[in-house]
Symmetry: T
């Protein structure tokens, strides 16, 4: 393997958050929960937006995001 | 066919709602309209988010959702 | 839900038409048949173009289109 | 429009059936239920195979199929 | 080439806007910026929703949209 | 962030199980193995079905499933 | 960078043409319009075929094509 | 293996035909050429529609089709 | 070209098998038929699962598989 | 069928080559092997890049390419 | 529109570079050529890797990349 | 569950490695880093190839790979 070893390596996880409020809030909750067990979260990408319907209204917004975080020590 | 007959069967429809306010609101309107003719809506999935632009601003948010509902009597 | 209720809501259906003549004609036939039972057809999108072969020639062009129509009363 | 009018037109619907037994059985149930309200079902295509897990075992197999049926009178 | 020449032709561009506020706002910013150099923007389609995470929170919402505009003189 | 904190967050993992018996059994084995190290498995989705061929017969059915489980304490 | 600099570089643009006549004609119009502002168009690829429906008939065929052209001086 | 052995097995090949005339004609040519070396062609599916542009006009329509044919003796 | 020439090269074919019994059996039949004319089949991947419906029941399960086999002499 | 018969028809095959050296070399090997049995190879497209890992290092690069070749006599 | 106006907006273009040497070099050439007419290139994504074959060898590697650049003044 | 329990189960992770040297090297680095925390890495699949551009040159090649490893004790 050539070059310096200073470049970073990232791992991705996929998490679904839900919210009664909005799609953006469901994304924020997925990230907040993931941050409890993984350090150095760096970016997310929305994979899927779904939701439950109850009484003809959106009961829960469910956002599945792929989240990237830096694998720590280099 | 084996097993009990108690499991549910769901049908999916695809509907586009629009809103001048937000993408989430366009989703809510699609669901509200679908609920006028179909009972037992259970979930949705966002398929496409588009919009019209007028005067360099979003005039209508247009959300296409797949909606699942239970086929009623078993 | 905010905003005025005047925006339209559209439903989509998926239909396959066939023709011995051409791919465009298969699309036209799918639309013509759908129009017999649904009012206010507004747009289509070609999903798939297939066909049957008989005697080394295209016997039927089969065009699957997604068709959008306005959900009528608002 | 050219050619004869004798070719058939098909409509597609999307249905999810579930079974405690097997993935194939979930497909069969989706078709059996759809057949209660639509005549002339002709083919299906598996769109998605999911399931619920309970007690570390598959509790329900859930098969989403697209089903094609002939639009009746020509 | 047959038919009248009056139909419009549209060109598409792909732009990523970002916002500290919301996903919808990131879309609005992409459109506002594109409007500075292109006239006659007509529609958009969301292609991708990503974001940067800083301190376990969404720092920037990043929305990539495809935007269609009319090629002017006909 | 608004709303109550009571909604659940799910993480997804991707696992490939194999079986000499059937495709459904390969799915069951993937789930059984995942359950040894993760609690609260809730659903799966089939991502890919492959297999090894030996002596012109299916030697192993290999099912790749995405499995969702609840991130435990809320 | 190794090798000679004589190889060509191509840029792609995405354009939607429309026609009242046929899908092929919509493609031809997209290309004819693009040729007014870009030299050296070399190839196209059909990305999407849609259309407007008016009075239960196809009013406009709308073909979106990706068009490649050579970036001129080398 | 269970059941009768009378069901058919089909093989698929992918072929690109070209035409100076139309997209449909490019499909017909692909099929005509494939028929010279394979018997029992049964169906096709359009995979891709491309073309060469010369002098700002479509010089060749290039249609890539997947063609299915019956594996003969059972 | 560098390195030893000992690595294998594989070719893929796409075949559809059908069965009145099950989806797995349709896969097995596709493989069994392909094995009549090609040696050294090594793996398969399910591409599509469809079926014919007759009398509201699955008449034939139709599994399309991509099959890989070793190009023999090295 | 209209027009001259001089246009070419191409067939595509899918081949996986492997190399201990690099991804590009795996592509070259797939092409070199395919060339032993098919004349007039004209182009390739990378479909998938995979590899085996042994001792935490890439042991074999495996490149799957779609290769187009001209169907010879016209 | 809320929030500060300081966030950046990016535009994407799609370019194909070619090289007789390697796939990486074809990417570098696409970027080098794009940089002649656009400032502030920031990232690329490989969209497609193809090539011409001549004499059973790769004659040109052709890499299509999507390139993002900052829309300059804010 | 039937059959012997001897078949293996694999888990997949998604990792992005980067390199200033080449795309292949970015893949190697992703694998080397993953190997620090997971045993028995068996294969990889390239999911995405991106990069940063600085001074009109590729500054970092960024390869996202899915890596499969054996879930250890059986």
């Amino acid at each position: 393997m050539t070059g310096t070893m200073s470049e970073h390596v990232y791992k991705h996880i996929e998490v679904t958050g839900s919210s009664t409020t909005s799609s953006d809030d469901a994304i924020r909750r997925a990230i907040a929960k993931a941050a409890e067990s993984v350090r150095e979260l760096k970016w997310f990408e929305l994979i899927e937006l779904r939701g439950n319907i109850d009484g003809n209204q959106v009961a829960h917004w469910q956002a599945t995001v792929k989240i990237g975080f830096r694998l720590d020590d280099e």
